[in-house]
Point group: C2
Chain length 315, copies 2
Amino acid sequence: MGKYCFGVDLGGTTVKIGLFSPKGEVLEKWEIPTRTENGGTNILPDIADAVQAKMKERGIAREEVIGVGIGVPGPVDDAGMVYRAVNVGWGVFNINETLGGLLGVPVKAGNDANVAALGEMWCGGAKGYKDIVLATLGTGIGGGIISNGKIVTGSRGAGGEIGHMHLVDDEPDACGCGNHGCFEQYGSASGIVRLAKRRLAVSKEDSVLRSAQEQDALSAKAVFDAVKEGDKVACEIAEEFGAYLGKGFAVIAAVVNPEVFVIGGGVSKAGEILFDYIAKNYEKYAFHACQNVTFKLATLGNDAGIYGAAKLVLE
Amino acid sequence: MGKYCFGVDLGGTTVKIGLFSPKGEVLEKWEIPTRTENGGTNILPDIADAVQAKMKERGIAREEVIGVGIGVPGPVDDAGMVYRAVNVGWGVFNINETLGGLLGVPVKAGNDANVAALGEMWCGGAKGYKDIVLATLGTGIGGGIISNGKIVTGSRGAGGEIGHMHLVDDEPDACGCGNHGCFEQYGSASGIVRLAKRRLAVSKEDSVLRSAQEQDALSAKAVFDAVKEGDKVACEIAEEFGAYLGKGFAVIAAVVNPEVFVIGGGVSKAGEILFDYIAKNYEKYAFHACQNVTFKLATLGNDAGIYGAAKLVLE
């Protein structure tokens, strides 16, 4: 068996690359720019060059490389078919074969959010678990689901697209996807800001969040910091936010029954105080057989993608 | 490799048993009663006796038996731990080890609804697919989810418990599970009867369903038969029923992105006309990457369990 594997996390601006041992030690990590021009045709050759240059620099023979895993910002199926990745200009093709052909080593690709979940399971907040849901609460909600240690890819790589799960009827605002009432309209970093603005607009109470709003500094962290200080409006916002997240997670649990929900993204900066608000609402809506669940914070941050990508080729 | 496998479907009244070839031919099937008295302690010895008697009768040696799969009416994890099966009186124990010990051949257990999904994938309505959701619309909604050919068991065997997914806020009636607003309160055979009664109570329109109601014969089939005759109230009920099912399936799709939804249970007797009502609502609520989905009728009926159980030991 080889001694090394590479994990690649392809983003719209940069490509993160990590060189790993099979035990999950990151031996080195670095970045190269993502050249999205010309339909992203330079991206895979750039990645191949970067990987091969590193192998040469460290004197790593091809036989010592178990493989190269890559997380892609778009749907990818289990055979490596990329269906569309608008952020990097890609259409439909098989990335496992294309990048594998350039490198001469096995390549395995996955959707970036799914791959991040695998990373958190391997070396992060969900270490030791095998049925997990990673919810990355940022601008939207990225999701990754692992069932019995394997990514739930879905038929077109759209497994774990929990941000676009319908949660609320009669929502007047459209989600980025065009639908109305998606989970990420409420449970994301943008969602809590939206809820906070709505609440501040109708409340007559004084609140430290009013000055935060004036300074354009409303965030999950600002809300939960204010909660810790006993701010009444902040507590109401936290309750509402927790109700949406708890309900959404309960719905997901009835489908895949995870042991642990791992929370990442900007919202996770609020810390474990989040869990109180989520858990009590989760318990209210979850099926009894799904009650036995743990909430954890993601721990790998922006490195979850390279960890999970490396793990892809170790399976 | 062995030439035979057994599939066992344990119900509260009878145990169905099938003898299969590894290709999915059912060579023989029969039933024995389920003796639930004394905490169900006779059930596994009865099953072992029935299997061994059949082996003796047919001159099948133990080495020729690949294994015995069994579907259990309750949560079972991937290691064979049964957490509770109230219909048969069982508490917590490892069924794989217990029945395997009695038989001297490998035993693999799963939850009955999940196992039925595997059966439909192997030899039924979902043959040829590998990412499927089986929704058995009967008294409740039983669910089974297959991701890349494998059952999504969940951490405590409650994967696919889609009947208890929260779907509707402010439902006054309680679900059998104690929560309010579960999917099965609307999308099951009982659900459509409930919707029909509510609609008939508020509607002033004439309808063939009024005499059906008087004869206690309201059902999904009665509603959709009336739809085919152009009955206005029946059409309204079908629309409402389809809206709940379409929305619920869209939610599930955002989590696991199946290729196909297979519909079984009493509601499926209404036939493919169901799909029109489900599909248009599914399209309204589903994320764009999950739109490419097929609806199929289950084809194995009450035999789905023995097929799926047999398939468990072939994996």
